[in-house]
Subunit: 449 residues, 2 copies
């Protein structure tokens, strides 16, 4: 069976006859009078038994158009050349945004052999299907690593921080980091801490559907991210992703307060104990501030880089029967820090308090967060909490467990290993990771409400 | 300073003068014409500098009434005697519901010395302030343990299962378990599995504010739980708690699909990947079914007890840089099972797959859930997932990590340690823990929506 960019049979024949290649604008005219014009996308073999052509429409949305033997396929225009530089070329004088590709779905495509999604080979393919991006401004695209985000490690954060820092000091209006969504909030939190005094925004963006799939959110998200990098009035490490399940707007979430809350929805990223900083309407190129701004854009600000992360920090979730030997193991193995996902207000089984006390006595900081995610740790209400405080743990206020993990790893790697200094920094609001003021609407509304 | 049930100064004097004790109905008449009638509650010393009397109003809500030296305090009626039996007394012939107290905030009060909340000494105090409960039907109250829920272990689930089973086989219309909220969803999941073929509902109930505090939710929740135990048409292990931040209704959540999602809100318990089974309107004594019912009430059904839980199961959260040595430690220490909170669709760092494979080769089941919480694990989409499947892990569909932990512990303790049988049971919907059908509204709506 011959395969033409994922297409087979008479569909492949019609595309070849029209001299249409992925990236070209084509028109598909069905015998029933339907007509669709859009950019031809390659197709997954998974769907190859269906006679369908995948088109990206001008609103950025991918659709699958059913084809029959009488359908006409016409070439409208060949692929646009993109206005962009490559990393090794001299940087332009005019305002530019840098896009750093790291891998992940937004930079991935379907493996036509296995049907699985794998990282992209050429980072420029990121823009291949979206020449409109160039209309926003000058783009500088580079690949800095090629990893699914589940494989990103604290040492990758060091590298990524350095690369972003370079773009910032080269004068970028903002830096977009194309990143896998799985661990994106951890990386966005890492950059929130590792680059101090950001003059411009660092914008993480990902995709829940690979860019060659119908219903991909790659273009919508990337366009919103580039807009944010160019135009936003704040200078924080943020995540820009779909805000609802349709294509009406994207949300800008503070990396330290954001979480992937759904395995597959396009609006999976949501704020916890925070509002979005802003809403982005990509079609009208509007960015509306709706939440708190922790740091404003200030191109004159001198950024500094502190990008070491300690890779011997562990997250331990408290569950009924959590075995004391797990804590003891971490202490024996000289782990650098422990983040506990406590229950409720931040509790752990009382049977564990002695082992946590031993950790503290060994100068290992123990940070307490809550597996509830929403709300704030408070160890003063119940006797268990008071015993924990006496043992010397550090309550992490309303920080996400993931953010507390990244922050502790950063403090230990880049700032200090002194226990009382670690405590003081954990309790200091460095990048907006603590929200002192909660309001009722920060808790989402549920299916019965 | 003399302390009278937490009250001091002229307030204590007025209460003593009126011969009013906690549990009595009193009327407070302020010089400005305000008048409040309600049950006198004891008061926390934390608030003792304010001249306030705490009253439980007839709607079950506690308020603090400001008192001045000219306020009149009148005794309306002495404490009602409760229509209830004690565990050791012979069981009644008429329909009854059993309330088993385990500890936790709903059965706790403020320690007047430290100001912290500690477990209650006498379980009957549960009903002390709520004689109205007796109006619903005959209540059989027993204390089966006295623990904050963070200290509940898998072996406590064995004991609790046995006690609940005894009540069921004694003919209870339903069993209410008063439980701390921190780990309540784990216990509710445990009972969902350990008592097979429930004829009547098992209703877990807790409180986010201790019953002697203003704004306590103890009474509202307990009343809703007792109603549910008596009247509900389903026979599952459920959680009944406040449904919104006001006092309008309670939600009935399937224990295996519920989660404490906020550290302090009264509506902290919410369904994940599920709707509430029902809404309870306590004032009109109405129970409205709004979700799926997995098992209907059938008083003739013969329940069986399988209440052993394996206490060597661990939950491990995947985070960037998750150290392989942690997995290796669990395998070396011959843990019985491992539940992974993977990222996104259920991924872990590829660097860990070999150690997970080794676990499986050592007949240790490795179950994959998602730290996203919402959505479903799918290991067929990305290459990482496919590699995990090849390593022999068990994907847990849309189960919560907490539920997967309890279920695996129960299967290993009560049913089988054979790896392929464990796999089959984990993939079987035993107690409604898998929801095959997701709809859009199962994902909550967020602050920007």
């Amino acid at each position: 069976m011959e395969i033409y960019h994922g297409y087979t049979g008479f569909v492949a024949f019609k595309l070849k006859e029209a001299n249409a290649e992925p990236g070209d604008v084509i028109r598909v005219e069905n015998p029933n009078g339907e007509s669709f014009t859009g950019v031809l996308m390659p197709k997954q073999l998974l769907y190859s038994d269906k006679p369908v052509i995948v088109l990206k429409l001008s609103n950025g949305y991918n659709i699958g158009v059913k084809i029959d033997p009488n359908t006409r396929v016409l070439l409208v225009s060949k692929k646009r050349e993109l206005p962009r530089t490559i990393g090794s070329q001299p940087l332009p004088k005019k305002p530019f945004v840098s896009i750093l590709a790291t891998g992940g779905t937004i930079a991935s495509k379907v493996d036509y052999v296995t049907g699985a999604v794998t990282p992209l080979i050429d980072p420029h393919e990121l823009l291949e299907w979206a020449p409109e991006l160039g209309d926003v401004g000058f783009l500088n695209v580079r690949e800095v690593m090629k990893k699914f985000s589940e494989d990103i490690t604290p040492s990758d954060w060091e590298k990524l921080s350095l690369e972003v820092y370079r773009e910032i000091t080269s004068g970028a209006e903002g830096v977009v980091v194309a990143h896998g969504t799985d661990m994106m909030s951890y990386s966005a939190a890492a950059l929130a801490f590792s680059i101090i005094g950001k003059p411009v925004p660092i914008v993480f963006v990902g995709s829940q559907r690979s860019s060659d799939r119908p219903s991909s959110d790659s273009f919508f998200n990337l366009y919103s991210a580039v807009l944010t990098a160019f135009k936003a009035s704040f200078a924080e490490s943020v995540i820009v992703m779909h805000g609802d399940s349709s294509d009406s707007y994207a949300v800008v979430l503070r990396g330290v307060k954001a979480r992937k809350m759904h395995t597959s929805r396009r609006d999976a990223f949501q704020p916890v104990n925070d509002k979005p900083i802003a809403i982005v309407y990509p079609y009208s190129r509007e960015i509306r501030i709706v939440g708190r701004v922790f740091e404003k854009r200030d191109p004159g600000r001198e950024a500094s880089l502190r990008n070491k992360f300690d890779d011997k920090v562990a997250i331990v979730k408290a569950y009924p029967g959590l075995q004391e030997e797990i804590i003891n193991f971490l202490v024996d193995k000289k782990f650098s820090g422990i983040v506990i996902e406590g229950s409720g207000l931040g509790h752990v089984p009382n049977s564990l308090i002695d082992s946590l006390k031993r950790a503290v006595e060994n100068e290992i900081p123990v940070v307490i967060t809550s597996q509830c995610l929403f709300g704030r740790v408070n160890l003063n209400v119940y006797s268990t909490g008071r015993r924990l405080l006496e043992a010397g743990v550090i309550p992490a206020s309303d920080m996400l467990p993931e953010t507390a993990y990244v922050k502790l790893s950063w403090i230990l790697g880049s700032v200090t290993k002194n226990l009382s200094e670690v405590r003081e920094l954990m309790l200091t609001n460095i990048a907006g990771e603590i929200n002192e003021r909660h309001t009722l609407e920060l808790f989402p509304r549920w299916s019965h409400e």
